[in-house]
Amino acid sequence: MANSYDYRSVGPVDQFPQRMGRVVRMEGQEIAVFHTTDGKLYALENRSPGPKGGTIVEGIVSGEVLFDPICDWKINLADGQVLAPDSGQVRSYPVKVEDGQVSIGVPEKADGKREG
C-alpha cells in the first residue's frame, strides 16, 4: 500500500526563520519545523532521540543536519536518521510548499483514520 498523507496548512514560509526551528502543534503532536539555508523545509517529531530525552526544536541547524541541543547527536533533517557514530531515528513528516504556503502531512491509514 502506498503511503497517503493528509496535509495540513501551517502558514506562510516566512513564518519559519532560516536555521531556527519552530514548534507546530498538530492534533496533539508536537512537530519541529526547520527551514534550511537552501530554502528547504523539514518536519520532525519534536523529541530528542538521545538517552536524556528533551526536545530538538532548539538545536543548531547546519545544512541538512540538525545538532541535538541536549546530546549533540547529528540528525539528518530529511529523514530523521541519526548519523554515525550514534544511531536512532526521529519520526519525520513530509512537507509541501505551494504558493508560499507550507503544509505538513500526517500519514493516513487504510481505513481512513490517521495514525495517532
Partner: protein, 814 residues
C-alpha cells in the same frame, strides 16, 4: 585456507574484559588458529566494567561502555553464548556442560570467570537492599534505589567503594562510607594522602564512618534499615552497597578438581593444574596474588594469548599496581610501594595551602613507588618510571616536584614493547608504535580511534603523545598543529582563526568558513557559537549577531528547563531590590502561574516553570532588564551589606557592585562571568570563588581573579590592590577585555588564568599602562553596542513570534 576441522577449538568461560581481551590478542596474532567459543553469564556483549561508575553517575549510558558489540563476535566468527552459565568441566573428556544442558568439547579451555563482591555473612544478610557493585545489573539496582530511597551506606572505603559513593551522591542520596580501618584506601595511600582524600570527599558531601566493623544489618521487615557496628553504634541506611573486596569465582574450578587457593592457581603462563586449562584475570591467583584491577588482567591476557598461539613470550612476572581514582574534582594516584620503610629514600612535598601532596619512594636510587594527591599531571610518567625502575635524576625530580615541565622525556624509549601503556583498554606500546608506522598516523586522535589507547580515562594520553613524538621525530610538529582545530570542521587553532579573521577582515561566520576552507559549509554545533563569539569580540560594531548560531538559552534569552518550560531572571543590580519591585514580581508570578520562585545563588529571583508563549508577556509586564542568567556574559555582582549598614564594613560594597554590574552587563564573554564585592576582609559575598572578586580594606580595594566555585573549584588569586573606585573600574575593564580577547570560547577564567599565567595577566592589565589603556578603549567600544535583549525582542514582533509562539495546525481535513 585451513579447513575448520583442522582448527583446534578454544573455549572461553567468561565474556568479560579478561576473557575477551585474551581472545582479541589471539585474533591479532593468529586469526586462523582457533575456532573460538565464548560462554558468558551476563546477557550483554563485553563491556568496560571499570566504567560502571560513569554509568552510575549517569555521565555515560550502557551503550557507551560496550567494548565489543554483537557484530564484533560475528565478524570474527566467534560463537557466543550469553546469559548462559557453565555448570561442569570435565577435564578428562575435555568438555564443558552449560545450564541448559549443552555439551561443548574443547581442545583448550580458558577460565575467565572473574570475581564476585565479598558479602558480609552477618545477621540480616538476607535482607533486601544489600547489593554488590560489580555488573550492569547491580548498577541498575543502584539507579532504581536512588529513586526510592534517601540514605545509603557503602561498606568499604577502597577505590570501588568511593566511586560507588560518589555515584550515589550524584544521584541525590545521602551517602556514608563505612570502612573497617581508620584510613580510607589504606592499601594504596599513606595516612597523609588518605586524610586529604577524605577531607576532599567530605567537602563534596560524602560522609564517613571509619574504624567501624559492621556486625549486623538492622531492620524489622524484609528490607535493610541500618547497620550495627561492633562498638554498639548504629547507622541508618535504606540501601547498602558492598565494596569491601572481591572473591575470585572458583566454584567451577574447584568442582573440576583444579588446584585452588584464594583463586585458581596458575603459573607464569596462566596454566592451571589441569592440562590445556588456563585461568586469566580476577579469578586466578598468580604467585599468591589475585588481582582486582584491570591492568594486570590485560598483561596476563597478553602472555596467555602468545602462549596459546605458540609465540615466544616472556613469562608473566606480576604487575606493579597503580591506582587512579576516577572521581571528578579529586586527583589521587598511587603506584608501587607507598609506605615509608627503613632503607628507602623518600622525596616528599606537602603543600597544605594548595592541597597538594607528593611522595616518591626510592630504593637504591631507583623509583619504586609513589603517591600523588591534588596534582596528577605527572601520574602517567611516574607510572612508567616505577615500572621501569628508573633512576632518579635532577630532571625527573624537577618534573615531579617542581613546576618545571618534563624535559622532552626520553623515557618513552625505555618502555618495553610489550608493556601496557593504556591500562583501561590494554594497549601496549608496540601496538601504538605499529599503528603509527604502518598506518601513517600523526595524531593521538587517530591512535585513539584505532587502538582505544587513551579512550577511557585519558590518563595515559601524555605517554601516547610522547610515543607519537618519539616515533615521528622531526615530523611531529606539523602533526601537532593538526589536532588543535577548534572543531572537526577545521584544522586551525583558535589563535589561527582569530588572526585570520583580523588579517582578512572577515565579518560573518559564513565568510570565515569559506575563506578558511571549512570542511563543513555551515559548520557544526562547536564552531558555530564559537565563531559568532570571536567575530563579535573582534568586530563589535560591524558583526551582526547570528542568533541561529547561539545555543538555545542565549538565542531565546531565557533558561530552558528539562520539561521544556522556561526560567526568567530579571536583573537585581548588586542584589538590591525594592518593595515595589518585589510586589510586581509577586503579582506577575501569580498571574502566570509560575511554578517556583527561587532565590538564586547570585542574589536575585528566578521564576521557574513558565510556558514558552508566556515568556515575552512576563518580560513586558515586569519591565525589568534581563538578568542574563543564561548567558556567557556577566551574570551577577554579588555584594555584602558594606559600610552603609554593616558595623564591620569599611567600603560601600553595594554601591561598587551596582556600578560594576551596570557597566559590564550584556557584554558577550567566552564563558559565564561572576563577580563579587566585599566591604571588608570577612568576605561575606565570597570573592574567592568568583571570576573577579573585590575586597575592601581600609583605604584600598583588593582585586582577586580566576576563582571558580563550580565543577573544578579554584581559589581566586590576588591580582592587585588599588586605592580609588575609578582605578577599580579601569582594572576590571582591562581584565575583562584581556580575558575576552585571549580566552578560548567556553574557557572559564580559572582555566584561562592557569594557561596564560597570573604574572602575564598582571603585566598586561596592571603594570603596563599603555596596554591597559588600549584594553579599556576596546572594551568601551564593545560596550557601546550592547542592547537590552528582552526589550529588543519585544520591539520586534516577527522575531518574538518566531521564537516564542507555537503554530497551531487546523484540525480536520483541508
Amino acid at each position: 585456507m585451513k579447513l575448520n576441522m583442522a582448527r583446534e577449538h578454544l573455549v572461553v568461560i567468561g565474556n568479560g574484559m579478561a576473557g575477551v581481551k585474551t581472545v582479541e590478542n589471539i585474533l591479532e596474532q593468529a586469526p586462523d588458529r582457533y575456532q573460538i567459543t565464548i560462554v558468558g553469564a551476563e546477557p550483554y556483549p563485553n563491556y568496560n566494567r571499570i566504567q560502571l561508575s560513569y554509568v552510575l553517575e549517569k555521565s555515560k549510558a550502557i551503550e557507551d561502555i560496550i567494548l565489543n558489540d554483537w557484530d564484533w563476535y560475528r565478524e570474527n566468527g566467534i560463537e557466543l553464548y550469553t546469559g548462559t552459565k557453565v555448570t561442569d568441566i570435565d577435564t578428562t573428556m575435555k568438555r564443558i556442560t552449560t545450564d541448559n544442558g549443552t555439551l561443548i568439547a574443547y581442545d583448550k579451555l580458558v577460565l575467565a570467570t572473574g570475581s564476585t563482591p565479598f558479602m558480609l555473612d552477618i545477621p540480616g544478610a538476607d535482607k533486601q537492599g544489600i547489593v554488590g557493585f560489580r555488573d550492569i545489573k547491580d548498577c541498575e539496582t543502584m539507579l532504581q534505589a536512588a529513586d526510592q530511597y534517601k540514605k545509603a551506606a557503602v561498606i568499604g572505603g577502597g577505590l570501588l567503594g568511593l566511586e560507588a559513593a560518589k555515584g550515589l551522591l550524584k544521584l541525590g542520596m545521602d551517602v556514608t562510607v563505612v570502612h573497617l580501618f581508620d584510613d580510607i584506601m589504606e592499601r594504596q595511600l599513606d595516612h597523609t594522602a588518605s586524610s586529604m582524600l577524605q577531607a576532599e570527599l567530605e567537602t563534596q558531601g560524602i560522609k564517613f564512618a571509619t574504624g567501624k566493623k559492621t556486625v549486623a544489618y538492622l531492620g524489622d521487615g524484609d528490607r535493610v534499615a541500618g547497620l550495627q557496628f561492633s562498638d554498639g553504634s548504629e547507622l541508618e541506611a535504606e540501601f547498602v552497597v558492598m565494596a569491601a573486596g572481591i572473591r575470585p569465582n572458583t566454584e567451577l574450578a574447584l568442582a573440576a578438581g583444579l588446584e585452588v587457593n584464594r583463586g585458581i592457581v596458575v603459573d607464569d603462563y596462566m596454566r592451571t593444574s589441569a592440562p590445556d586449562v588456563y585461568a586469566v584475570g580476577e579469578c586466578n591467583e598468580h604467585r599468591g596474588i589475585s588481582y582486582g584491577l584491570v591492568a594486570p588482567l590485560f598483561e596476563q591476557g597478553a602472555v596467555l594469548a602468545r602462549h596459546l598461539c605458540g609465540v615466544e613470550t616472556e613469562p608473566y612476572a606480576g604487575t606493579v599496581m597503580s591506582t587512579q581514582l576516577k572521581i571528578s574534582g579529586v586527583d589521587v594516584f598511587s603506584a608501587g610501594e607507598f609506605t615509608d620503610a627503613p632503607g628507602l629514600t623518600v622525596v616528599r612535598m606537602h603543600d597544605e595551602w594548595r592541597r597538594i601532596y607528593k611522595k616518591i619512594l626510592l630504593r637504591g636510587g631507583r623509583i619504586i613507588g609513589g603517591v600523588l594527591v591534588g596534582d596528577g599531571k605527572s601520574a602517567a610518567r611516574l607510572q612508567q618510571w616505577i615500572r621501569t625502575g628508573t633512576v632518579m635524576t635532577d630532571a625527573i625530580h624537577d618534573t615531579l616536584m617542581g613546576a618545571v615541565e618534563a624535559a622532552g622525556g626520553n623515557s618513552v624509549a625505555d618502555i618495553a614493547d610489550e608493556e601496557i601503556v593504556c591500562g583501561c583498554n590494554g594497549v601496549t606500546k608496540k601496538r601504538i608504535v605499529d599503528v603509527i608506522q604502518e598506518r601513517g598516523f600523526t595524531t593521538v586522535e587517530e591512535i585513539k580511534l584505532s587502538t582505544g589507547a587513551s579512550r577511557s580515562c585519558g590518563g595515559c594520553r601524555p605517554v601516547v603523545e610522547q610515543i607519537l613524538k618519539h616515533v615521528l621525530g622531526d615530523k611531529y610538529d606539523s602533526a601537532a598543529a593538526k589536532q588543535e582545530g577548534i572543531c572537526s570542521c577545521t584544522t586551525l587553532s583558535k589563535d589561527e582563526v582569530v588572526r585570520n579573521i583580523k588579517e582578512k577582515g572577515l565579518i560573518t561566520s559564513q565568510e570565515v568558513r569559506y575563506a578558511l576552507g571549512w570542511e563543513n559549509e555551515e559548520g557544526c554545533s562547536k564552531c558555530r557559537p564559537a565563531l559568532n563569539y570571536y567575530l563579535g569580540m573582534i568586530w563589535p560594531a560591524e558583526h551582526v549577531d547570528e542568533r541561529d548560531s547561539r545555543f538555545v538559552n542565549e538565542r531565546m534569552h531565557a533558561n530552558i528547563q528539562k520539561d521544556g518550560t522556561f526560567g526568567v531572571v530579571p536583573r537585581m543590580y548588586g542584589g538590591l531590590t525594592t518593595p515595589e519591585d518585589l510586589r510586581l514580581i509577586a503579582d506577575v508570578a501569580v498571574k502566570y502561574n509560575v511554578k517556583l520562585v527561587k532565590v538564586t545563588g547570585g542574589q536575585r529571583l528566578d521564576l521557574l516553570g513558565i510556558q514558552r508563549e508566556d515568556v515575552p508577556k512576563i518580560w513586558e509586564e515586569l519591565g525589568m532588564p534581563s538578568g542574563y542568567a543564561y548567558a556567557k556574559a556577566l551574570r551577577t555582582v554579588k555584594t555584602c551589606v558594606g559600610s552603609q549598614f554593616c558595623r564591620f564594613g569599611t567600603k560601600d560594597s553595594i554601591d561598587m557592585g551596582i556600578q560594576l554590574e551596570k557597566r559590564f552587563e550584556r557584554l558577550d564573554m567566552p564563558a559565564k562571568f561572576k563577580m563579587a564585592v566585599n566591604g571588608c576582609p570577612r568576605n561575606c559575598a565570597e570573592s574567592a570563588t568568583k571570576d573577579l572578586g573585590i575586597v575592601g580594606n581600609e583605604g584600598a580595594w583588593e582585586i582577586y581573579v580566576g576563582g571558580n566555585g563550580g565543577i573544578k573549584a579554584r581559589l581566586a588569586e590576588l591580582m592587585c590592590k588599588v586605592r580609588t573606585d575609578e582605578e577599580v573600574m579601569e582594572i576590571v575593564a582591562a581584565f575583562i577585555q584581556y580575558y575576552r580577547e585571549t580566552a578560548n570560547y567556553l574557557e572559564r577564567t580559572s582555566d584561562w588564568i592557569e594557561r596564560i599565567g597570573l604574572t602575564k595577566v598582571i603585566q598586561t592589565v596592571v603594570e603596563d599602562a599603555d596596554s591597559r589603556r588600549e584594553l579599556v578603549e576596546r572594551i568601551n567600544a564593545a560596550l557601546q553596542q550592547v542592547k537590552e535583549p528582552w526589550r529588543d525582542i519585544l520591539d520586534n514582533q516577527k522575531l518574538k513570534e518566531q521564537l516564542f509562539d507555537e503554530i497551531q495546525a487546523p484540525s480536520g481535513r483541508q
